[in-house]
């Protein structure tokens, strides 16, 4: 029972991550899964569903097709829909059932591409990993498949890893754009389809979902990246220095001991901890419940993978906690609990209470009030 979540929620799964990161790119995402599951990926985990259109389909995999290995049901229907919709690209991804029967998504994507002449790639999600993994792989595969390097465009920054699962649709994206554009820096949001992504001079990674793509572009196209969110005024100034960086930059945090802990998406939590230190003089640590970048970990940070472990750690170490409201149920009663809803964790339950912390000291103060 150690790995069972008995009290708290689970994070959105890898398949939802794929759908979320590709949502606004004008492609067609086909999830190989049983009929009815579309609502999980494209409504429960997707706050944009009622505002912007997107081509997200479910293959409606049946038990008979799974048993008989009838891959042609998926490929034929995808080809038919693609010819009608003419998407910019096609992405195939999986779920637990195709994972168990060993569907070869790579081969199927190649077959569909041959039949449609539309760039097609696959992300063999299993539904058993976190949204970070699905989104991260999908973004990297998207770039490899659809982007072409032509010429370096100086003073241009790609924002990598943006999804509403971590940065809700309450103006956070717009504030990041404004921050850069006010200083004359051109911004490409990787969440919008862009053939020019490889031409940018720098990458700003705003969630762990952007890390795979950032590393790929650094290793293959020498595009340096910075891992930080512009939370609060001082960190925003730090982020604005991105056009001057020559190699990957991570936030430095050296706190060895603290009783103030943040739980949430790893890069967001690290940025929040840094902002609290810069703006409020608070030394905060991060409890990692999701994938993280080791180079940005502070000595006081802690990595956990089970509910019991998280609960025990908080009981032992934490007197002040910033986390999604659901975590309150496993936090010590004596600790000060500061609510910061996370859409990938509690979905629509607290979506209207998600603050916009980008470039805003006042909102930061409100969180710790």
């Amino acid at each position: 029972m150690k790995n069972t979540l008995k009290i708290i929620s689970c994070y959105s799964a890898d398949t939802a991550g794929v759908c979320s990161i590709l949502y606004e790119m004008g492609g067609m995402v086909v999830v190989h899964d049983a009929s009815g599951c579309n609502s999980t990926y494209s409504t429960h985990d997707e706050p944009r569903w009622s505002k912007y259109p997107s081509n997200i389909f479910i293959s409606a995999l049946t038990e008979r097709d799974a048993i008989m290995g009838r891959d042609e049901t998926l490929t034929d229907n995808t080809v038919k829909a693609a010819k009608e919709l003419e998407p910019r690209f096609i992405c195939l991804c999986g779920s637990p059932m195709p994972a168990l029967i060993g569907t070869d998504f790579y081969a199927l994507a190649s077959e569909i591409e041959k039949k449609t002449s539309i760039p097609t790639f696959s992300v063999a999600t299993t539904g058993t990993y976190s949204y970070i993994q699905g989104a991260g792989l999908a973004l990297k595969e998207f770039i490899i498949k659809t982007s072409v390097y032509k010429k370096r465009e100086e003073n241009t920054v790609n924002i990598l890893g943006y999804t509403p699962l971590d940065l809700y649709i309450n103006g956070q994206k717009e504030r990041i754009v404004k921050l850069f554009e006010d200083k004359g820096i051109k911004v490409n949001f990787s969440s919008e389809y862009s053939e020019n992504i490889l031409n940018a001079s720098h990458n700003l990674v705003v969630s762990q979902s952007g890390m795979e793509a950032a590393k790929y572009m650094w290793e293959n196209y020498d595009i340096p990246y910075m891992c930080a969110l512009p939370i609060g005024e001082k960190l925003s100034k730090f982020v604005l220095d991105i056009p001057n960086i020559k190699e990957p930059v991570f936030l430095e945090r050296n706190t060895a001991k603290t009783s103030f802990y943040i739980l949430g998406e790893s890069l967001f939590s690290q940025s929040l901890a840094k902002a609290l230190s810069l703006e409020e003089g608070i030394d905060a640590g991060v409890v990692y419940t999701l994938e993280k970048e080791d180079r940005a970990v502070a000595p006081c940070d802690y990595t956990t993978s089970t509910e019991e472990d998280t609960e025990n750690f908080l009981k032992e170490k934490a007197e002040n906690i910033i986390a999604d409201p659901i975590y309150k149920h496993i936090s010590p009663v004596n600790a000060k609990f500061m609510s910061l809803p996370h859409f990938a964790f509690s979905g629509r339950c607290f979506e209207h209470n998600i603050p916009n912390l980008m470039c805003d000291d006042h909102a930061l103060k409100e969180v710790i009030k």
């Binding site: 290995g69 994972a99 168990l100 029967i101 060993g102 569907t103 070869d104 081969a107 190649s110 077959e111």
Partner: protein
Amino acid sequence: MIKIAIYGKGGIGKSTLCSNISAALAKKGVKVMQIGCDPKSDSTVLLNAGEKLPSIMKKYTEKGSALELKDIVFQGENGVLCCETGGPPPGTGCAGRGIINSLERLEKLNAYGIYKPDIVIFDVLGDVVCGGFSMPMRKGYAQKVYVVTSSEKMSRYACGNISMAVENFKGRDYAELGGYILNKKTSPEDNKALEGLCKDFNTQIIGEVEYDPLIKEAEEKDTTVIKTFPESKVALSFMNIAEKIYV
């Protein structure tokens, strides 16, 4: 580096053949990695003095993402790198998914980049009964599939089924059929029926292993004939097949 997969009917002698080929190649200085794709985890026992190695699935279950190559890759006879995918106990779980997960794990841990074997031999359980068992013949894995068979009807039938699977996957850039290896269960044994199958699939018998009690004797000693009876006729036949596979 070349990668090959050995398929064939259950009990036809795939693991014995793989281990002897691996031992023969390693003896000549070729760096060999043999990967058993069977929940029983017994592909490499003859290369490890009868010892069953801890499988990838067993160690992955224990260690999760902390799994390291040293937990799952071991040096056997003549330095052959031995590895077993493992899988669930009989009657439970999903053996095919075990193979998929294990082979993906080896890729993630960069096993081929780190050990740099000259040849990787996937020893695959039985027939291509589900997606997981086709994994070793997919793009990026084996370039060639060899099928071990006797001339007995049921063995030829399984051989035909495996050949059919390879044929069906041609459009997906999977492995191609490298040929058949005739493992004679009795002496003498007629090759004619198998030659007919060769014509059907436009392939050939690349080697023959005569029935020889020395194979059983070596197995009882938990070793290969290459090691125990290196001058024997049957050892020579394994060496000839090894040369055909690794040119």
